[in-house]
Amino acid sequence: MTLLRLTGLSRKFGGLNALTDIDLTIEPNEVIGLIGPNGAGKTTLINVVTGVHPASTGNVVFDGNDITHYKPYQVARSGIARTFQIVQPFPEMNVLDNVAAGAMAAGGARSVNDARNQAMTHLEFVGLMPFADQPASALTLAMRKRLELAKSLAMNPKLLLLDEVNAGLNAAEIDQALKLVREISARGVTILLVEHLMKVVLSLCTRIVVLHHGKLIAQGEPDRVIRDPLVVQAYLGRRYADTEHPNA
């Protein structure tokens, strides 16, 4: 059964068509890479799915329910978790309580203590246990990104939307993050990740979706999609695509 189905999804900001007529389906257990040049509408797509920006037209069906008009908290409770491109911790709360917040609201914990207990296992998983009682503002960027992951895992999601989890990380930190994403995927969580690093996309994803100017221009297996002339043109310009450079 299809996990997420977007049909004819559009979003306008005034006269700007940020998303135009997007049709996309996501099957369970897929790891999908959402790529596209800056301003292509990748984050807008995530915002529309999670209810931050309502869709102008079209609809979003998740797990058999029409969630097009859900508010963000309802989307979260229906089983979609996301991380932000710019990390969004609760800065003065400690690391454990940050994760407990996820367990409490969408994760369905019965009490604050229950939520903290659940949070422990997720902290262990992302390797932040030694920092459990530190305020979130004391963490480095790489650790904050892992904290975001732990928070969204605490929500027990079926679908995880990762918005540039690797932006601003160094090579070693990226490898760690990749390992975590693989393990999360192995648990049976479906993942959609927005990513600029081709290395990451090619090594993780089972399918790639390409956005350009708010339109879905290509999708399919990673190796095939990155050779698609339309995709090369979107990233590097028509002249470059015409020369049919194979390693674009």
Partner: protein
Amino acid sequence: MKRDILIGLGLLVLLVIISAVSGPYLLRLSTIVLMYIVLALSWNFIGGMAGYPSFATAAFFGLGAYTGAVVQTSGGSMYVAWCAAALMTAVVSGFLGWVLLRLRGHYFAIASFALVEVFRVLTNSMTDITGGGMGLNLPVPQLASVHAQAVFFFYAMLGLAIVTFAVTLAVSHSKLGFGLRCIQQNEPAADILGIKTTLHKVVAFILSASFVAVAGAVYASWVYYIEPPDVFDIMYSIKPIVMVLLGGAGTVFGPIIGAVLYLSLEEIVWRNLLQVNTGALGVLIVLLVLYLPRGFLSLKFKRLRKKVTT
């Protein structure tokens, strides 16, 4: 939580002793302190825990006072009047919160500020019910002596303060309190984690209004004459905010400590510097906010004790 309850009980015993041994001056002063403790604890729900700077405290104080006064003048007993004030204000604040809490930051502050003026003008113009600018005379409480009256209202305010404190304690350890803290820290993030932010904020707003309303109704019964500029005084909005910031916003004991501290300062300054008392108090507040921005409770008492002993 157990420790919190113990400290609370200690404070309580202290207050009862004060009332038992004190004369009318101290009795009246501690009744007022208790009233402000209720106001400060109430503001703490919306301003401290949820981080929404509400200036509506005076609006709900006045609404409670007038609801209670109208019930009492039309023959209802004092207790019925106090309950009516709580109910009426809970409903009104629930509706207003549902509308106003869509605003954030300064916009919410200004909107809540306007509530006080709107309520005052409404009360002034509804002459048939409220007596308008002439005010309302309430029945004098049927008690043996003036002193017995003072003692009665001291215990009434004390009871209300205890209830408000107990609710504060319960909320701060509950999922509601946890959710409010998340909202205060980062509302969009709380939303995306599945926290029902609007519901949390409305509940906090209702809590912040209801106890204030009962305090207003008790106050009306106590002084048995109220008029709009008296109970819709904007100082009822501002003082609790200063108290909470003084003591420590979002904490359980901060509002209590802040209220006691502020009123003691006010009393001392007023007594000794009659001519420039508000000026002196203003300077004191500025100094406290500059050097103790996170409130009195943020002082590291443990480190302080170490310094003293070594």
